[in-house]
């Protein structure tokens, strides 16, 4: 690792000896390379293939209808909805890092926020396609919009499912704009750094003429801060509304007031896990150990541990409410969840999301990058299992025993899920290839002290 010592929890946010020139040159050099890294081609090939699989899956779905999926009565919401919730949680985690920790002035955020925001962007893209695919007649999705229809009908504004449509629409739009606004100064740096005419024109047009003039900076700081202050409550509202999609229905296992915060805890957990999953390999592959230090890994691991305790609390409350309430159907559903046909998925959730992350109490574990990667990957799997439990297990035990049933995902469900994973990583790798992965202008303020000490 070219003279960089192993990460340590007490590392500063930027390793000593860093300077602005090296930072700018190194970060700009990655997207400006004439040829991509060999590992980049190795990494993007399988994901690009999976993206192709997604397209095939979608085309066949449009041709044959949702019958190719495993959904049926009583489990009418299957992989599409649970994967949607899983992806939107991953996306939300990125916004927590970029917006919430901007407001708390956390210095560690500067190095990882571009990666976190890109994760939000592609996580939201993967999530956003699912509800539309899940519609039996996806070409009529515009019925969700309030528009002067010739039949004088209007959407049902009292339904959480419609709230969700508005929430996702707002969230995707805002994430793209927030991400792009935060890129402007770095795009300007790229424009001035680019050597070939083509790159100068492309980055120049994207930078829209940002030059670092005092007026531009003054408005930029104010606008960015205000948008961050709006993004933070927005992301909480979006994931709460996703929780209300479930809580709003009088379905056994869903009808619970704890769902909105419970879903936000899950978003925290999967967000931190995914960021670690991206940051640890990228810092090594792109030689960014100087700017993404042991401090970042340590902070993210601690936050992941904290969120893991949050979801642990939610799982305990879930059990408590089943026994505390007097609803027999809730008890049946809970017992089935813990000991029944799908109990393996429930216990995987507990193990991956609550038990294994307890290892992160130990600093030595937090500094073992391979172990952290494995724990993070376990959490991503665990979060998926949690969503599976919420969606499928709740639906397969409705109140009437005559309506009970079992759900199995089909090959098309799995291919679509794998396809969205491909889409996500293809997007992230394209960002790595084309844009600065570290927010240079923000890190510059840490590298170049604003005021010399008196």
């Amino acid at each position: 690792m070219s003279g960089i010592p192993a990460p340590h929890a007490f590392d500063p946010v930027v390793l000593p000896g860093s300077n602005n020139q090296d930072l700018t040159d190194q970060v700009c050099a990655i997207p400006l390379r004439r040829r991509a890294f060999f590992w980049w081609w190795v990494a993007i090939t399988p994901f690009a293939v999976l993206t192709g699989v997604l397209i095939v899956g979608i085309l066949y779905l449009f041709y044959a209808g949702v019958g190719i999926w495993g959904i049926d009565w009583p489990v009418a919401w299957g992989m599409a909805i649970l994967s949607y919730v899983w992806w939107i949680a991953i996306a939300s985690g990125g916004t927590f890092i970029s917006a919430l920790f901007y407001l708390t002035r956390s210095e560690w955020r500067s190095s990882v926020n571009r990666i976190a925001e890109s994760m939000t962007l592609f996580g939201a893209a993967c999530a956003g396609i699912y509800p539309i695919l899940h519609l039996g007649r996806p070409w009529l999705f515009y019925w969700l919009l309030p528009y002067p229809a010739t039949m004088h009908t209007w959407p049902q504004f009292r339904s959480p499912l419609l709230w969700d449509f508005f929430a996702i629409l707002t969230y995707v739009t805002s994430s793209v704009l927030f991400w792009y606004l935060g890129l402007l100064p770095d795009l300007a740096t790229m424009r001035d750094h680019a050597q070939t005419r083509g790159k100068q024109v492309v980055y120049g047009v994207l930078a829209m003429g940002f030059r670092g003039s005092s007026t531009q900076w003054r408005h930029f700081k104010a606008t960015y801060a205000v948008l961050a202050a709006i993004m933070a409550p927005l992301v909480c509202s979006v994931h709460s509304i996703v929780g209300l999609d479930f809580a709003g229905a009088a379905t056994v296992g869903w009808h619970s007031t704890q769902f909105p915060p419970f879903f936000i805890f899950g978003a925290f957990l999967s967000g931190f896990a995914t960021v670690l999953l991206l940051v640890i390999p990228l810092r090594r592959l792109l030689r960014l150990e100087r700017y993404i230090t042991g401090r970042h890994i340590d902070v993210l691991c601690r936050l992941m541990l904290t969120s893991s305790l949050f979801v642990g609390y939610a799982y305990i409350m879930d059990a408590f409410q089943a026994f505390y309430g007097s609803d027999h159907a809730e008890l049946v559903e809970f017992t089935e969840k813990v000991w029944g046909y799908y109990s393996g998925i429930y216990w995987s959730t507990i193990v991956f999301n609550v038990l294994v992350p307890q290892l992160l109490w130990f600093r030595r574990v937090r500094m073992r990058q391979v172990v952290v990667l494995l724990i993070s990957f376990g959490i991503i799997v665990g979060m998926w299992c949690e969503r599976y439990t919420i969606v499928v297990v709740s639906l397969h035990r409705p109140r009437l025993p005559s309506a009970w049933g079992v759900y199995h995902a089909t090959i098309w469900d799995w291919l679509t899920l794998a396809g969205t994973v491909g889409l996500f990583f293809t997007g992230i790798l394209l960002v790595v290839r084309l844009l600065p992965v570290i927010s240079m202008f923000e890190l510059r303020e840490l590298v170049v002290p604003r005021r010399t000490p008196p």
Binding site: W154, L162, F210, S213, R218, T223, V226, L227, R450
Partner: protein, 163 residues
């Protein structure tokens, strides 16, 4: 104001002290171009964002009220048509969307962007203003006096062009 000077400094502190001298000496109009924000000040954009957000939320609430009370009243389990708590989430989301759109486009209006060419781009050193030099562009009638003022601050580079 027929001469343009473009002066670059290696640190924000050097630029800071030079700006103070330049302003005190009143040599002409100055504008800074820097890789990090150096001067603080107020901006109109947050006010626009607030107005946009509030208007968006009100519009969202009114639209839902109109649809459910007047345009297409639907009896759902005997609940009142004006069931306002149910209108809050969409009103909030709509407000947020309007606020973010106002902020994003308001920024470009406030800064008069996009503007791909500006006369300052003619200076060679401008290529480094978003990289590693803290620069100031000066338009003045007395370039000699400006240079004298700047001398004390040891600029990294000075360029001169007829403006």
């Amino acid at each position: 104001m027929n001469t343009g000077l473009f002066v670059a400094f290696a640190t924000p502190q050097a630029l800071d002290s030079a700006l103070r001298s330049l302003r005190a000496a009143r040599v002409g109009t100055i504008e800074t171009f820097t890789p990090t924000p150096v001067e603080t000040g107020t901006s109109i954009v947050p006010v626009l964002v607030l107005v946009g957000g509030v208007l968006g939320a009100i519009a969202g609430f009114l639209l839902q009220s109109y649809a459910d009370m007047s345009a297409y009243p639907l009896d759902i389990g005997g609940r009142p048509f004006f069931s306002w708590p149910a209108f809050v989430p969409i009103a909030f989301e709509n407000g947020v969307l309007a606020a973010i759109l106002t902020g994003f486009f308001g920024y470009f209006v406030a800064t008069r962007l996009p503007r791909l060419y500006q006369p300052v781009d003619e200076y060679e050193t401008m290529r480094r203003a978003m990289r590693d030099l803290w620069c100031v562009a000066i338009r003045t009638d007395e370039p000699e006096r400006a240079r004298q003022v700047l001398d004390a601050h040891a600029p990294a580079r000075i360029e001169e062009l007829p403006a």
